[in-house]
Protein backbone atom coordinates (compact mmCIF):
# COMPACT_ATOMS: atom_id res chain seq x y z
CA UNK A 1 0.00 0.00 0.00
CA UNK A 2 1.12 3.57 -0.67
CA UNK A 3 2.80 5.38 2.19
CA UNK A 4 0.89 8.04 4.07
CA UNK A 5 2.42 10.98 5.90
CA UNK A 6 1.68 12.27 9.39
CA UNK A 7 2.96 15.63 10.59
CA UNK A 8 3.11 16.40 14.34
CA UNK A 9 4.06 19.81 15.68
CA UNK A 10 3.89 21.64 19.00
CA UNK A 11 1.83 24.40 17.39
CA UNK A 12 -1.45 24.01 15.50
CA UNK A 13 -0.55 26.62 12.89
CA UNK A 14 2.83 25.03 12.19
CA UNK A 15 1.22 21.64 11.56
CA UNK A 16 -1.42 23.24 9.37
CA UNK A 17 1.20 25.27 7.48
CA UNK A 18 3.46 22.30 6.86
CA UNK A 19 0.45 20.31 5.65
CA UNK A 20 -0.38 23.11 3.22
CA UNK A 21 3.19 23.16 1.92
CA UNK A 22 3.28 19.38 1.46
CA UNK A 23 -0.04 19.29 -0.37
CA UNK A 24 1.44 21.64 -2.98
CA UNK A 25 3.88 19.00 -4.13
CA UNK A 26 1.89 15.91 -3.23
CA UNK A 27 -1.84 16.43 -3.88
CA UNK A 28 -2.55 12.69 -4.09
CA UNK A 29 -0.69 11.60 -0.97
CA UNK A 30 -2.70 11.06 2.21
CA UNK A 31 -1.27 13.61 4.62
CA UNK A 32 -2.75 14.17 8.08
CA UNK A 33 -1.51 16.45 10.82
CA UNK A 34 -1.72 17.26 14.52
CA UNK A 35 -0.52 20.40 16.26
CA UNK A 36 -0.64 21.70 19.82
CA UNK A 37 -2.57 20.46 22.81
CA UNK A 38 -6.27 19.62 23.07
CA UNK A 39 -6.89 23.22 24.13
CA UNK A 40 -4.94 24.76 21.26
CA UNK A 41 -1.96 25.56 23.48
CA UNK A 42 1.69 24.87 22.63
CA UNK A 43 2.48 21.20 23.24
CA UNK A 44 1.51 17.73 22.06
CA UNK A 45 -1.80 15.94 22.31
CA UNK A 46 -2.16 12.18 22.41
CA UNK A 47 -5.74 12.44 21.13
CA UNK A 48 -4.89 14.70 18.19
CA UNK A 49 -1.88 12.63 17.13
CA UNK A 50 -3.90 9.43 17.48
CA UNK A 51 -6.62 10.95 15.28
CA UNK A 52 -4.06 12.00 12.65
CA UNK A 53 -2.73 8.45 12.51
CA UNK A 54 -6.14 6.75 12.48
CA UNK A 55 -7.69 9.14 9.97
CA UNK A 56 -4.88 8.81 7.44
CA UNK A 57 -6.07 6.73 4.44
CA UNK A 58 -2.87 4.70 4.50
CA UNK A 59 -2.00 1.90 6.93
CA UNK A 60 1.73 2.41 6.43
CA UNK A 61 2.79 5.79 7.76
CA UNK A 62 5.92 7.89 7.92
CA UNK A 63 5.64 10.42 10.75
CA UNK A 64 7.57 13.66 11.03
CA UNK A 65 7.74 15.83 14.17
CA UNK A 66 9.33 19.08 15.33
CA UNK A 67 10.46 18.51 18.93
CA UNK A 68 11.00 15.77 21.49
CA UNK A 69 7.64 15.57 23.21
CA UNK A 70 5.82 15.29 19.87
CA UNK A 71 8.12 12.34 19.15
CA UNK A 72 7.40 10.69 22.49
CA UNK A 73 3.67 11.14 21.97
CA UNK A 74 3.99 9.67 18.46
CA UNK A 75 5.82 6.69 19.99
CA UNK A 76 3.06 6.11 22.53
CA UNK A 77 0.37 6.19 19.85
CA UNK A 78 2.45 3.96 17.55
CA UNK A 79 2.59 1.33 20.30
CA UNK A 80 -1.21 1.34 20.56
CA UNK A 81 -2.27 1.43 16.89
CA UNK A 82 -2.53 -1.49 14.47
CA UNK A 83 -1.02 0.61 11.70
CA UNK A 84 2.57 0.27 10.59
CA UNK A 85 4.07 3.52 11.89
CA UNK A 86 7.64 4.68 11.34
CA UNK A 87 8.87 7.83 13.10
CA UNK A 88 11.47 9.59 11.00
CA UNK A 89 14.18 11.57 12.83
CA UNK A 90 14.74 13.85 9.84
CA UNK A 91 14.72 17.63 9.64
CA UNK A 92 11.00 18.29 10.08
CA UNK A 93 9.96 20.23 6.99
CA UNK A 94 12.70 19.08 4.60
CA UNK A 95 12.13 15.45 5.56
CA UNK A 96 8.37 15.55 5.21
CA UNK A 97 8.61 17.48 1.95
CA UNK A 98 11.10 15.02 0.46
CA UNK A 99 9.02 12.01 1.48
CA UNK A 100 5.82 13.52 0.07
CA UNK A 101 7.39 14.51 -3.24
CA UNK A 102 8.84 11.03 -3.70
CA UNK A 103 5.60 9.23 -2.77
CA UNK A 104 3.75 11.46 -5.24
CA UNK A 105 6.40 10.58 -7.83
CA UNK A 106 5.77 6.88 -7.31
CA UNK A 107 9.14 6.02 -5.78
CA UNK A 108 9.54 2.83 -3.78
CA UNK A 109 9.89 2.85 -0.01
CA UNK A 110 13.57 1.81 -0.11
CA UNK A 111 14.38 4.69 -2.46
CA UNK A 112 12.55 7.12 -0.19
CA UNK A 113 14.47 5.78 2.82
CA UNK A 114 17.76 6.39 1.00
CA UNK A 115 16.83 10.00 0.29
CA UNK A 116 15.71 10.60 3.88
CA UNK A 117 18.91 9.20 5.39
CA UNK A 118 21.09 12.34 4.84
CA UNK A 119 18.27 14.52 6.24
CA UNK A 120 18.40 12.81 9.63
CA UNK A 121 19.49 15.38 12.18
CA UNK A 122 17.91 14.24 15.44
Amino acid sequence: MTLGIVVASHVDHIAEGVHRLLKESAPDVSITYAGGTDDGEVGSSYALIEAAIEQNDSDTLYCFYDLGSAKMTLEMVSEMTDKDVTIIDAAFIEGAYTACALIQGGYKQAEIDDQLEPLKVK
Binding site: S44, S45, A47, M72
Partner: protein
Amino acid sequence: MELTHEQAKRWLLNFHQKVTDNKAYLSELDQAIGDGDHGSNMARGTEAVKDKLGSVTEDSLEAVLKQAAMALISKVGGASGPLYGSAFMAMAKTAKETSELSTLIEAGLDGIKHRGKADVGDKTMIDMWQPVTSALHEDDLTEVTIDQALEDVKPLKAKKGRASYVGERSMGALDPGAVSSGYLFTALIEEVLA
Protein backbone atom coordinates in the same frame (compact mmCIF):
# COMPACT_ATOMS: atom_id res chain seq x y z
CA MET B 1 5.07 -3.59 51.24
CA GLU B 2 1.83 -3.71 49.28
CA LEU B 3 0.16 -0.68 47.72
CA THR B 4 -3.65 -0.66 47.92
CA HIS B 5 -5.94 1.16 45.51
CA GLU B 6 -7.09 3.52 48.30
CA GLN B 7 -3.49 4.42 49.14
CA ALA B 8 -2.73 4.98 45.46
CA LYS B 9 -5.66 7.39 45.18
CA ARG B 10 -4.58 9.35 48.27
CA TRP B 11 -1.01 9.37 46.95
CA LEU B 12 -2.07 10.86 43.61
CA LEU B 13 -4.35 13.45 45.20
CA ASN B 14 -1.54 14.53 47.51
CA PHE B 15 0.78 14.78 44.47
CA HIS B 16 -1.78 16.97 42.72
CA GLN B 17 -1.89 19.27 45.77
CA LYS B 18 1.90 19.58 45.95
CA VAL B 19 2.24 20.29 42.23
CA THR B 20 -0.54 22.88 42.37
CA ASP B 21 0.99 24.58 45.44
CA ASN B 22 4.41 24.71 43.74
CA LYS B 23 3.28 25.43 40.18
CA ALA B 24 5.10 28.78 39.96
CA TYR B 25 8.29 27.36 41.46
CA LEU B 26 8.37 24.43 38.97
CA SER B 27 7.91 26.80 36.03
CA GLU B 28 10.62 29.08 37.42
CA LEU B 29 13.06 26.15 37.57
CA ASP B 30 12.08 25.24 34.01
CA GLN B 31 12.54 28.83 32.86
CA ALA B 32 16.21 28.64 33.81
CA ILE B 33 17.08 25.61 31.67
CA GLY B 34 14.00 24.65 29.63
CA ASP B 35 10.88 26.22 28.17
CA GLY B 36 9.29 27.34 31.42
CA ASP B 37 6.05 25.39 31.30
CA HIS B 38 6.66 22.46 33.66
CA GLY B 39 4.58 23.92 36.50
CA SER B 40 1.52 24.76 34.42
CA ASN B 41 1.76 21.50 32.43
CA MET B 42 1.98 19.33 35.55
CA ALA B 43 -0.75 21.31 37.31
CA ARG B 44 -3.06 20.74 34.33
CA GLY B 45 -2.07 17.05 34.16
CA THR B 46 -2.53 16.28 37.84
CA GLU B 47 -5.84 18.19 37.85
CA ALA B 48 -6.95 15.76 35.11
CA VAL B 49 -5.71 12.86 37.25
CA LYS B 50 -7.84 14.12 40.13
CA ASP B 51 -10.91 14.32 37.85
CA LYS B 52 -10.32 10.84 36.43
CA LEU B 53 -9.87 9.29 39.86
CA GLY B 54 -13.40 10.36 40.71
CA SER B 55 -14.67 8.08 37.95
CA VAL B 56 -12.79 4.96 39.11
CA THR B 57 -15.49 2.95 40.81
CA GLU B 58 -13.89 -0.49 40.99
CA ASP B 59 -11.52 -1.45 43.83
CA SER B 60 -8.59 -1.98 41.54
CA LEU B 61 -5.03 -0.70 41.84
CA GLU B 62 -4.51 -1.34 38.14
CA ALA B 63 -7.53 0.84 37.26
CA VAL B 64 -6.33 3.70 39.47
CA LEU B 65 -2.84 3.68 37.95
CA LYS B 66 -4.15 3.31 34.41
CA GLN B 67 -6.57 6.23 34.73
CA ALA B 68 -3.75 8.36 36.13
CA ALA B 69 -1.57 7.38 33.17
CA MET B 70 -4.27 8.23 30.63
CA ALA B 71 -4.93 11.62 32.25
CA LEU B 72 -1.23 12.52 32.25
CA ILE B 73 -0.72 11.35 28.66
CA SER B 74 -3.75 13.32 27.46
CA LYS B 75 -3.46 16.54 29.39
CA VAL B 76 0.12 17.49 30.32
CA GLY B 77 1.06 18.67 26.82
CA GLY B 78 4.84 18.75 27.35
CA ALA B 79 7.46 15.99 27.43
CA SER B 80 6.55 15.14 31.01
CA GLY B 81 3.16 13.87 29.76
CA PRO B 82 4.51 10.85 27.87
CA LEU B 83 7.20 10.36 30.54
CA TYR B 84 4.96 10.37 33.64
CA GLY B 85 2.26 8.67 31.54
CA SER B 86 4.62 5.84 30.56
CA ALA B 87 5.67 5.45 34.19
CA PHE B 88 2.07 5.05 35.40
CA MET B 89 1.14 2.85 32.43
CA ALA B 90 4.07 0.53 33.24
CA MET B 91 2.99 0.49 36.90
CA ALA B 92 -0.59 -0.31 35.87
CA LYS B 93 0.60 -3.27 33.77
CA THR B 94 2.77 -4.51 36.65
CA ALA B 95 -0.15 -4.13 39.07
CA LYS B 96 -1.86 -7.02 37.24
CA GLU B 97 0.84 -9.30 38.68
CA THR B 98 1.78 -7.69 41.98
CA SER B 99 1.00 -4.74 44.23
CA GLU B 100 4.44 -4.75 45.84
CA LEU B 101 5.47 -1.10 46.04
CA SER B 102 9.17 -1.29 45.13
CA THR B 103 8.38 -3.54 42.15
CA LEU B 104 5.75 -1.07 40.94
CA ILE B 105 8.03 1.96 41.24
CA GLU B 106 10.84 0.09 39.50
CA ALA B 107 8.45 -0.71 36.62
CA GLY B 108 7.64 3.01 36.47
CA LEU B 109 11.34 3.85 36.34
CA ASP B 110 11.86 1.38 33.49
CA GLY B 111 8.91 2.94 31.66
CA ILE B 112 10.53 6.38 31.87
CA LYS B 113 13.91 5.06 30.74
CA HIS B 114 12.29 3.34 27.77
CA ARG B 115 10.26 6.38 26.72
CA GLY B 116 12.94 9.02 27.24
CA LYS B 117 15.89 6.86 26.19
CA ALA B 118 17.72 8.39 29.13
CA ASP B 119 19.60 6.93 32.06
CA VAL B 120 21.03 7.83 35.44
CA GLY B 121 23.26 10.92 35.35
CA ASP B 122 21.54 12.62 32.38
CA LYS B 123 19.98 15.18 34.78
CA THR B 124 16.38 14.11 34.36
CA MET B 125 13.55 12.77 36.51
CA ILE B 126 15.39 9.41 36.37
CA ASP B 127 17.92 10.88 38.81
CA MET B 128 15.06 11.02 41.33
CA TRP B 129 13.31 7.76 40.41
CA GLN B 130 16.48 5.65 40.52
CA PRO B 131 17.63 6.47 44.09
CA VAL B 132 14.00 6.26 45.30
CA THR B 133 13.66 2.80 43.73
CA SER B 134 16.90 1.65 45.37
CA ALA B 135 15.77 3.02 48.74
CA LEU B 136 12.40 1.24 48.44
CA HIS B 137 14.18 -2.05 47.75
CA GLU B 138 16.13 -1.46 50.99
CA ASP B 139 12.86 -0.55 52.77
CA ASP B 140 14.43 2.80 53.59
CA LEU B 141 12.68 5.57 51.62
CA THR B 142 12.61 8.82 53.61
CA GLU B 143 12.74 12.58 52.92
CA VAL B 144 16.52 12.24 53.25
CA THR B 145 16.59 10.10 50.08
CA ILE B 146 14.71 12.80 48.17
CA ASP B 147 16.78 15.70 49.52
CA GLN B 148 19.99 13.83 48.69
CA ALA B 149 18.79 13.07 45.14
CA LEU B 150 18.06 16.77 44.59
CA GLU B 151 21.53 17.70 45.87
CA ASP B 152 23.07 15.09 43.56
CA VAL B 153 21.17 16.28 40.47
CA LYS B 154 22.34 19.92 40.77
CA PRO B 155 25.94 19.62 39.53
CA LEU B 156 25.02 17.34 36.61
CA LYS B 157 25.14 18.56 33.04
CA ALA B 158 21.86 17.93 31.18
CA LYS B 159 22.15 15.38 28.38
CA LYS B 160 18.47 14.93 27.48
CA GLY B 161 15.51 17.13 26.72
CA ARG B 162 15.33 20.86 26.26
CA ALA B 163 17.85 21.49 29.07
CA SER B 164 20.57 19.74 27.05
CA TYR B 165 20.48 22.69 24.59
CA VAL B 166 21.95 24.98 27.24
CA GLY B 167 24.61 22.38 28.10
CA GLU B 168 27.09 23.74 30.65
CA ARG B 169 24.59 26.34 31.85
CA SER B 170 22.42 23.58 33.27
CA MET B 171 25.16 22.73 35.78
CA GLY B 172 24.24 23.95 39.26
CA ALA B 173 20.53 24.15 38.40
CA LEU B 174 17.81 21.85 39.69
CA ASP B 175 16.04 19.69 37.11
CA PRO B 176 12.30 20.51 37.21
CA GLY B 177 11.33 16.91 36.41
CA ALA B 178 13.45 15.63 39.29
CA VAL B 179 11.81 18.20 41.58
CA SER B 180 8.25 17.30 40.54
CA SER B 181 9.16 13.61 40.92
CA GLY B 182 10.43 14.51 44.40
CA TYR B 183 6.92 15.81 45.20
CA LEU B 184 5.49 12.52 43.92
CA PHE B 185 7.65 10.55 46.32
CA THR B 186 7.17 12.91 49.27
CA ALA B 187 3.45 12.36 48.70
CA LEU B 188 4.12 8.61 48.68
CA ILE B 189 5.97 8.82 51.99
CA GLU B 190 3.17 10.89 53.57
CA GLU B 191 0.26 8.77 52.35
CA VAL B 192 1.69 5.26 52.25
CA LEU B 193 4.88 4.91 54.24
CA ALA B 194 4.23 7.19 57.22
